[in-house]
């Protein structure tokens, strides 16, 4: 029985170690999640102001024009798959990869996939027929140092390829951030730009436009698209830490449950061993007395 005791003791130690790691990872994710959420909060005033300026400028102009809103028959599609660099975050990455694969079913169109994040890169790297041209080799590593300049560069390349007709449609796949525990895998149309429905929000103010209204719109639209892309990246980043936090919380709970069961069976085994020992001693002393 002593051997059984030792084995159980070793398992308890190993489960305790694992639990320490998962709970530490959870704490790290909590901190990173907070920082990622701060980044979303910080960019919100900018995004909102840009939207309202755009609404004010384009209000009196006919929408549905311009290079980025051109609707062409869709033959070539670019799918941007936003995942994370690290795993251990539940179904976070697999959901995106699955969505992308489902989206590529229409055989009449040809597809390219631009992976962002190491996990998507690992999943699509070997399928060379899906590799898009004109992007830097390390584009997937954008999350290493996520900032607007990087998103801007990426956005420029995507916009350019849409404008010159390389792609007729661009879609964005990312985990939308709802709260720390809930992320929704989202398949979002990025280009062509759909005419916005909320033109009622245009204010009555008479602005001076410099240069002309049309020129301003032409400059703001690419910028607003890049902001939209950046927002998707930031949301995915926050979702990643949220997903990992939930996954690690679950793992810690499972470990503590396992630990309780192991402790019970350890104590049972220990008591059984003691009982046997007492019985042997009693039996031995009775034999001597007799």
């Amino acid at each position: 029985m002593a051997g059984g005791l030792k084995e159980v003791r070793e398992r308890i130690t190993s489960v305790q170690n694992t639990m320490q790691i998962t709970s530490a990872m959870k704490m790290v994710s909590v901190a990173k999640l907070r920082r990622a959420q701060d980044a979303i909060t910080r960019m919100r005033p900018y995004a909102e102001k840009l939207q309202s300026v755009l609404a004010n400028v384009s209000g009196s102009l006919a929408s549905g024009e311009g290079v980025y809103s051109e609707q062409r028959p869709v033959k070539r599609v670019l799918l941007v798959a936003v995942t994370s660099n690290r795993g251990l975050c539940g179904g976070f990455n697999n959901n995106i990869i699955k969505e992308v694969n489902v989206a590529m079913r229409d055989a009449s169109k040809s597809y390219h996939v631009l992976p962002l994040g190491k996990k998507a890169n690992d999943a699509f790297r070997r399928r060379t027929e899906l590799k898009p041209q004109g992007f830097a080799e390390d584009t997937w590593n954008i999350f290493e140092d996520l900032n607007f300049a990087a998103a801007q560069d990426l956005g420029d390349r995507i916009l350019k390829q849409f404008a010159d007709g390389t792609y007729d449609e661009v879609r964005l796949f990312y985990n939308k951030f709802v709260n720390a525990a809930v992320q929704i895998p989202t398949n979002e149309a990025f280009l062509p730009l759909l005419p916005s429905a909320d033109e009622a929000s245009t204010s009555e103010t008479e602005y001076i436009f410099e240069p002309s209204q049309a020129e301003i719109v032409e400059r703001i639209i690419p910028n607003s698209l890049k902001v939209q892309l950046y927002k998707g990246l930031l949301e995915s980043h926050a979702s990643e830490h949220g997903a990992r936090m939930t996954a690690m919380h679950q793992a810690t709970e499972n470990a503590s449950e396992l630990l309780r069961d192991l402790r019970i069976s350890y104590n049972k085994a220990r008591q059984a061993a003691i009982t046997t020992e007492i019985l042997e001693i009693v039996a031995g002393s009775e034999a001597l007395d007799g």
């Binding site: 910080r42 960019m43 900018y46 102001k49 400028v57 607007f148 998103a151 602005y207 410099e210 301003i216």
Partner: protein, 77 residues
Amino acid sequence: MKVDILTPDTTLFSGEATYVGLPGADGSLGIMNSHAPLITTLQAGDVVVKNGSSEERFTVGGGTVEVLNNVVTVLAE
């Protein structure tokens, strides 16, 4: 008047000012109190914010400016 200089990553400046100098797309322009509503785009250059005798400079790579009701919002890139 109130001035906000925003970038997607952070808020560079938020506060009162008496004068704002901007690198407008068609040449530099200055905004003082009670300026008429204006929307314009910027080219790369320095945004100068003066409040009395103090002065601050911010380098921008381009952007958009809205002036409305004595609030200047610079959306820098």
